[in-house]
Every structure is written in structure tokens, then in C-alpha cells.
């Protein structure tokens, strides 16, 4: 049985001055929740657009349910991809958008859509162009959930949603996914928030896939060792170091490796502290490690913190 439902082969998307996708190879299997993670502009939306035939690759192949989605009703009818900047007809209210979706998705659940609208306190009879950013996101989230399409993409669905609404979305997603298994691709840069939902993680950076692994596998794949700098460095000599931080004579070093039982005991005997690395930290470290020299790394990081502060 081949249950691959999304396959990208050597996908390249070239814009005038940048490679939005740089030789992407990907294979996703049915009925799982995928996280498509990466920084803004990393290529997440481009990849999803090409898979759903909303945009075109410069070269390479994108297969969904074994065929190209382009002008292919048999494939398209099983996909839902409401983009983060989704546009709606000028006179449309959320209720009109939902009734439109009902025309095209055979598994559309109007009752579910109504309940979700109530949960999100969405004014279904207000013109969409008058909605706030969060309410606009809610419209997309509701269409994505209630369409129950076999392959559903959520493109940074939480923009403008408050913490309560975001939690509601995550909860409803998990509940509905349990009752109606399907393949969900959740693109996000709020990694910690979605980490627990994800079964498989794909990290994209500058158009390249830099991580493609099961969430379980990733959770134990790295460790942070802290203690006296000298001892830490001796203990970790020769290992794949992702990140190193020092404070006086203390060091905290993240390694991209699994420690064996005896190594853990050894570390404890040396008085070193071992702590797990969150998915978000790991993605950040790997993204930065892949960005090139240490000098530019710190530059990038400074930019990020600056951005975060604004």
C-alpha cells in the first residue's frame, strides 16, 4: 500500500532575484498532522501554493493524490487551501463564504461551521472586508475545518487571533481530526504553540528543506548540556554543536545528538545539567546553524530580536 498523498520532486521556484524554492523534495503520507515550519519568507506559502496548483513551479514536479492538481478536478475537489491573505468577493459576508464552500466540498459540515463561528464569536452577517484581522483569520480557519477536505492546508491560521481563539482552534482541530482523520498541513512560525499537535515536522529555510522528521524523533534528538564551561567542552568534544552560550565560567551548549544512558550518567557525575530542547529552540538553532558563518548568525539573530521587539 502506497499512502503517499503529497510528493514534491526537485521543485524549484525562481523569482527575479530569489530562489523561493530551491530543489525541494518531499513525501507526505495520509492521515497525519504535518507542521510546515520556517521563518517568514522561507518558502512555506510558495510550496503550498505550488502543491495546490495556485502557483506554478519553475521546474520540478508536484503530485497530490498521485497526479498534478493543475486543472484536475478529481484532485482539486479533495484539497482545501485558504491562504493567510485570502481574498473574498466584495459583497461577501462570512455566511456567504461558508455557503460557497458547502457547494464544493462534499464532506462540508454546516453544523460544525456554525458552532465554530459561535466559538470564535464571528459576526457571520458582517461584510468580510469590514472584519478585523483576527475575524478574517477565523473565516479561513472555519472553512478549512468544516470542509473536511482530505488534504487541508492552514497557512499561518492564527494571525490576529487572541490566545483564547488560538487555543480553541488547536482544540477543535485535534478533536475533529480524531473523529475525521485526514491530512493536515499546518504552516506556522509560532512553533511552541503548535508543537504538541504535530506528528511530523518539515522545516523549510531559504527555499530548502532543512528538517523532515517525525515529531517524536525530534523531541529526543537534541540536548542542552550546561555547567562549568571547561567540563562541558571536554564532555562534548567532537560532537555536533548547534549552539553555545557562555555566562562567566558557565556554558550552556546544545548538541544535535542523542546521549546514551552511560553518557547521561557520566554527565551527571561531572555535575553537568541536561535539559531537553524544545522544538522551537531546535528549529531556531538549526535554521541559524544552516545560515552560514557564526558572524552572520549573530547578525541574523540580532535582527530577529530587534524585529520581535518592534
Amino acid at each position: 500500500m502506497n499512502d503517499t498523498i503529497v510528493e514534491a520532486r526537485n521543485l524549484i521556484k525562481h523569482y527575479k532575484d530569489l530562489n523561493a524554492l530551491d530543489n525541494v523534495n518531499l513525501r507526505l503520507t495520509a492521515n497525519r498532522i504535518y507542521g510546515l515550519l520556517g521563518r517568514n519568507g522561507a518558502g512555506k506559502t510558495t510550496l503550498m501554493s505550488i502543491l495546490t496548483a495556485q502557483a506554478f513551479a519553475t521546474s520540478g514536479e508536484a503530485l497530490v493524490f498521485g497526479a498534478s492538481a493543475y486543472e484536475n478536478d478529481a484532485v482539486l475537489s479533495r484539497i482545501c487551501f485558504i491562504r493567510e491573505s485570502q481574498k473574498y468577493p466584495d459583497d461577501f459576508q462570512p455566511q456567504h463564504a461558508f455557503r460557497s464552500a458547502a457547494l464544493f466540498y462534499k464532506n462540508w459540515d454546516q453544523g460544525f461551521a456554525d458552532r465554530l463561528a459561535e466559538d470564535f464569536q464571528l459576526p457571520v452577517k458582517r461584510r468580510i472586508k469590514k472584519l478585523s484581522r483576527g475575524q478574517l483569520s477565523a473565516v479561513g480557519v472555519i472553512i478549512g475545518l468544516a470542509s473536511r477536505a482530505e488534504l487541508t492546508f492552514f497557512d499561518e491560521p492564527y494571525l490576529g487571533l487572541d490566545a483564547v481563539a488560538r487555543q480553541l482552534f488547536y482544540d477543535r482541530l485535534v478533536e475533529d481530526y480524531a473523529a475525521h482523520p485526514r491530512t493536515i498541513i499546518l504552516s506556522s512560525h509560532l512553533i511552541d504553540e503548535v508543537a504538541n499537535l504535530l506528528e511530523h515536522v518539515v522545516v523549510i529555510d531559504r527555499g530548502r528543506i532543512i528538517m523532515d522528521a517525525d515529531a517524536e524523533e525530534i523531541r529526543g534528538s537534541a540536548v542542552t548540556v550546561s555547567g562549568s564551561a571547561e567540563k562541558v567542552d571536554t564532555f562534548l568534544a567532537g560532537r555536533r554543536i548547534l549552539h553555545r552560550e557562555t555566562l562567566g565560567s558557565l556554558a550552556s551548549v546544545t548538541v544535535d545528538e542523542v546521549l546514551s544512558g552511560s553518557e547521561r550518567t557520566e554527565a551527571q557525575e561531572l555535575g553537568l545539567e541536561l535539559s531537553p530542547v524544545s522544538l522551537q529552540q531546535l528549529v531556531v538553532r538549526k535554521t541559524m546553524a544552516g545560515a552560514g558563518t557564526a558572524g552572520t548568525d549573530s547578525g541574523d539573530f540580532a535582527d530577529d530580536t530587534m524585529e520581535a521587539r518592534r
Binding site: 506554478f56 486543472e71 478536478d73 481574498k87 468577493p89 479561513g140
Partner: protein
């Protein structure tokens, strides 16, 4: 096929866009024209140009179906073909309905001697002079033309952005001016005038229909590679 139909139905979910607003615009324009006709104390036939008002709205609808409805249809994973056929089908349906309305209006207008105030809104000199089918064809084609030209320009915009729109608009203008210049150079205006004098509303409709077909085909080719 069912998805094509669904595209048309989707755009009728909000009845205002394609039915309510055109009728409101027509009614408002009609009532205003009537008021003006009534104020002019002349017992000869008075003609107004108010019946063209909904046409400009159709131009806007043509543009919006491409700039807003197309991206939405992509979000619902509707193929470009289904979107195109469904939208064009809807245009035709609305143009047909409006044509019927204009024809009925024209008949009533004649029967009531210009609504009792000698004002002619639906009857337009030359256009409605011929047989009924010539008038109907003219109304229908002109309405389709407005939709399609809006749709066509918006497809250009979607595909090639502001530059593309500018180039195609300027290009069209330059081509027209070029033709006019050549006509002057070869002293051909007499022939052009003769040609136009020979046209009837029916033949004009024919030429416009031909142009519609060309533009519609052009839109489809452009739309095939357009992204939301």
C-alpha cells in the same frame, strides 16, 4: 460540469451583487430620467441616456470577478476552467435577463407614449429602430462586452501587474491612434464614414460579438497561467 454550475451559483449566493444592484441602479436611473422628462414641458419624444447606467456596473463586476472572486475560487480549489466557464455563463445569464427587461421596458414605453410624459428611456434612436431581434442582440452583446472588457483588463492586471495593464492600455491607444493616422494619411475617412453609415444595429452587434469572442478567448489563455 457540476463544479462549473456551482461557480455560477456561488456568485449568486449574495443576490445583491448580480441581481439587486443592477436592478437598483436601473430603477434609480429610470426614475431620475422620468423626473427629468416630466420637468421638460415638450410633447415631442425626449430621449435620455440613462439606460446605460447598469452597463458601467457590469464593467466593475467584470473586474471584480477576476480580482476578488478568482482568488476566492482558488482557495476553494476550483479549477481555472470551471471558474472561467461558470463566470462567463453567469455573465450571459445576467445579460440575457437584463435584455429581456429592456425589451419589456421598451414595449411598455411605446404603449404608454413614453410613460405619459413623452420620455424614452429604453427606446434609443437608431439602436431600437430595427426589428426586435436586432434590438435584443444589440443590448445583449453590449452588456456582455462590458463584462468581458472588465474581465479581460483584470486578467491582464492579475497576470502582469500594473506594468502589463499600462502596456496593454497604452498599446491599444497607440494602435487606435496609428490606425486613425493611417486613415488620415491615405484619406480614408470617407470610406470609414461610408462603412459606418452602412452598419445597422444588427451588424454592429455582430462585430462587437466577434470582439467579445476574441477577448474572451484571450482572457482564458491569460487566466490559464494566472495566480491568485
Amino acid at each position: 460540469m457540476s463544479r462549473t454550475m456551482a461557480v455560477a451559483r456561488m456568485q449568486l449566493i449574495n443576490k445583491w451583487t448580480y441581481i439587486g444592484w443592477p436592478l437598483t441602479i436601473l430603477a434609480a436611473s429610470f426614475l431620475m430620467s422620468l423626473a427629468i422628462f416630466a420637468l421638460i414641458p415638450v410633447t415631442e419624444g425626449k430621449n435620455g441616456g440613462g439606460s446605460q447606467a447598469p452597463l458601467w456596473y457590469f464593467l466593475v463586476l467584470g473586474i471584480q470577478s477576476m480580482t476578488l472572486v478568482f482568488p476566492f475560487s482558488q482557495g476553494l480549489s476550483i479549477s481555472r476552467r470551471a471558474f472561467y466557464l461558470g463566470t462567463l455563463g453567469l455573465f450571459s445569464l445576467i445579460a440575457l435577463g437584463m435584455t429581456v427587461l429592456y425589451m419589456v421596458g421598451g414595449v411598455l414605453e411605446k404603449a404608454t407614449n413614453g410613460w405619459g410624459v413623452y420620455g424614452y428611456f429604453f427606446n434609443i434612436p437608431w439602436v431600437t429602430d430595427g426589428p426586435w431581434y436586432s434590438t435584443a442582440a444589440f443590448f445583449f452583446v453590449v452588456m456582455m462586452f462590458m463584462f468581458i472588457i472588465g474581465f479581460w483588463f483584470a486578467t491582464i492586471f492579475k497576470r502582469w501587474g500594473t506594468t502589463g495593464t499600462l502596456v496593454s492600455t497604452l498599446g491599444t491607444a497607440i494602435a487606435l491612434i496609428g490606425i486613425a493616422a493611417l486613415t488620415t494619411l491615405f484619406q480614408g475617412w470617407g470610406h470609414v464614414g461610408n462603412w459606418f453609415a452602412q452598419q445597422t444595429p444588427l451588424t454592429i452587434s455582430g462585430w462587437a460579438a466577434l470582439l467579445c469572442v476574441v477577448l474572451a478567448a484571450g482572457s482564458y489563455t491569460t487566466l490559464r497561467r494566472a495566480t491568485p
